[in-house]
């Protein structure tokens, strides 16, 4: 369980306070162990900032992050990776193009584990183990462990990143529009894979999406953000009854001056 308590973050463009960007203006959110939350909101609403504060990319101005009772507000990004898995929007970001799939997986499999640094990393046992992990993806990747990830398609790379983020089960999975760069068919495949992995391993998940259909279709909870605040939070049955029109109406209420089309 992750508790975000009154998170605040301001980005300073220069020394002029007028140009400050108040990205988060006090966000409190509790992510329960059975939560799969989709986060929606317009550009600049603070969704990505919220994700980055949780992941540790940016420092937190005010507020606290409590993960399973431990305050992790001051823990650096790379140490939080022990508990937090991440998939990025850009398929290039989550994997290393110029080394093999096998080597990428070895790196990811060490996340959150104590490994002796001088042990030979690329063992046959691991290779066999990874082949078994890749087989259920039905992408044929189990035969391409020695191929460089750079030769993979965007969908394959996102699937691999997803597998890497979850292979040692994290306490929280952060998905930052991880299907936005993919074509609709591939995006659907990756989304279904996401749901399958998350459900099979019971991973609490926070997913940003620009696709309102996905936001409604996947997960048990939906939150909407605007101007650095959570303006709507619903779960369970209420969430499953949501329609796209409802969400657009919500948006129009808070950001009346903006056309819904420009928000997504």
């Amino acid at each position: 369980m992750l508790e975000c308590i009154n998170l605040k973050k301001t980005f300073h463009l220069d020394n002029n306070p007028d140009n400050d960007k108040k990205a988060l203006q006090g966000v409190s959110l509790t992510i329960h162990d059975n939560d799969f939350i989709s986060v929606i909101g317009g550009n600049g609403s603070g969704k990505t900032t919220l994700l980055n504060l949780i992941a540790g990319v940016h420092s937190i101005d005010e507020g606290h992050l409590i993960l399973d009772g431990v305050d992790i507000t001051a823990v650096p990004e790379y140490q939080r990776a022990k508990w937090i898995g991440r998939v990025f929007q850009d398929p290039m970001q989550g994997t290393i193009a110029s080394i093999s799939l096998f080597e990428n997986l070895v790196l990811a499999s060490n996340r959150g584990k104590k490994v002796s640094p001088f042990k030979w990393a690329l063992t046959k046992e691991k290779k066999a183990e990874f082949a078994e992990l890749l087989r259920p993806l039905n992408l044929g990747l189990e035969d391409r462990l020695d191929a460089k990830i750079g030769t993979f398609s965007g969908g394959q790379r996102q699937s691999v990143t997803l597998l890497m983020a979850t292979m040692s089960t994290p306490k929280l999975l952060l998905l930052d529009e991880h299907t936005a760069a993919l074509d609709p068919k591939t995006a659907k495949t990756v989304m279904e894979l996401t749901e399958r992995i998350v459900q099979a391993n019971h991973i609490p998940t926070l997913m940003i999406t620009h696709n309102m259909k996905d936001a409604i279709r996947y997960g048990n909870r939906l939150i909407m953000m605007s101007e650095g605040k959570i303006i709507f939070d619903c779960e369970g049955e209420a969430k499953s009854k949501l329609k796209i029109e409802d969400l657009i109406a919500k948006f129009s209420q808070t950001e009346a001056s903006l056309e819904p089309d420009t928000l997504f």
């Binding site: 992941a55 790379y78 790196l107 996340r111 990393a121 460089k148």
Partner: protein
């Protein structure tokens, strides 16, 4: 050419190639593995050659000197990395700062030596130790003169390459490679990118220092001028190797660097047939060589693309006609 000259022609680039392959491997780790254009090479190299001479002149054991120089290399790498990581000095500048500072220390050491930059031919070095060893084993003097430097540098290089290959295949080595290639991915997978950068630059400088102390002990000289053109040399070697040897895997990249080093020194050897070694324009020729090494593969590729394009166009034109 006499028999002796022919032997020199073919064998002397081998020794240089082996010694400077160590430097090139150092440049490879900074430039290719960590993706940092590290210029501190030009400071580490002369400091180590000068310091090696300084100590050998005072009768230090040459192996102890090698060991101490390795420590100095590691320290230089750590300081260099910390300048950019913790004081936020851009890596290019921190390299230049190191270069200037270490060069200054080298000059001070020469002053302490009353300006002496050359060692006596009878100085006890790693090379003279190994030659004596081979002579005692019954090898003829002619062969010892030719083979001894190649063998002993070969041993140092072999150990280093083996060590590098092993290290970069371990959990930590893999993490280090990840840090250089994709910081975001590395951090998301729990890798301490800063620590990896420090270790990487330390290894890089270690190799440069090893190369420098061997250079000093082989040539019995150590002057602050030794660092001149070292970054050009290292990069030329690296790019030459990459241009001629396929280097898809990490292991092949190491071999490519070694191959590039031999090729570079044979090219220089051929160059010496036309210009005297003392030629003032030598550095200019070397810079020109680097430009060629960088530009030629690109130009060849462009030409190939254009030709492929032209062929396709001609084919289409024919079909239309």
């Amino acid at each position: 050419m006499s028999g002796y000259e022919i032997q020199t022609f073919f064998l002397s680039p081998l020794t240089s190639g082996l010694i400077f392959a160590l430097l090139a491997l150092g440049v490879f780790i900074a430039y290719r593995v960590l993706d940092i254009a590290d210029l501190s090479v030009e400071g580490v190299f002369p400091l180590v050659t000068v310091f090696s001479c300084f100590l050998l002149l005072r009768g230090w054991n040459p192996f102890l000197v090698v060991l101490l120089m390795i420590v100095i290399g590691v320290l230089a790498g750590i300081i260099n990395a910390c300048l950019s990581l913790y004081l936020k000095i851009p890596p290019l500048l921190s390299g230049i700062i190191m270069m200037a500072a270490l060069f200054a220390i080298a000059i001070i050491l020469v002053k302490l030596n009353n300006g002496q930059v050359n060692l006596d031919a009878s100085t006890f070095t790693v090379f003279s130790w190994f030659s004596t060893l081979l002579l005692n084993w019954g090898m003829s003097k002619v062969w010892v003169n030719f083979l001894s430097p190649i063998l002993i540098t070969g041993i140092f290089l072999g150990l280093s390459m083996g060590g590098i290959y092993f290290f970069f295949g371990t959990e930590m080595g893999l993490a280090l490679r990840a840090s250089g290639k994709n910081k975001q991915m590395a951090k998301a997978n729990g890798i301490n990118v800063k620590l990896m950068t420090i270790i990487g630059l330390a290894i890089s400088s270690l190799l440069v220092a090893l190369s420098a102390t061997l250079y000093a002990q082989k040539n019995l000289t150590g002057s602050p001028q030794d660092g001149q053109g070292m970054i050009v040399l290292g990069l030329s070697t690296l790019f030459l190797g990459e241009a001629i040897i396929p280097h898809a895997s990490f292991k092949m990249h190491l071999w490519a660097t070694l191959g590039g080093s031999f090729l570079y020194w044979y090219i220089i050897q051929i160059l010496f047939q036309f210009v005297p070694k003392s030629d003032t324009f030598l550095y200019l020729y070397k810079a020109l060589l680097l430009v060629l090494v960088l530009a030629v593969p690109y130009l060849i590729q462009r030409y190939k693309k254009k030709r492929a394009r032209r062929l396709v166009d001609e084919k289409e034109a024919k079909e239309h006609a």
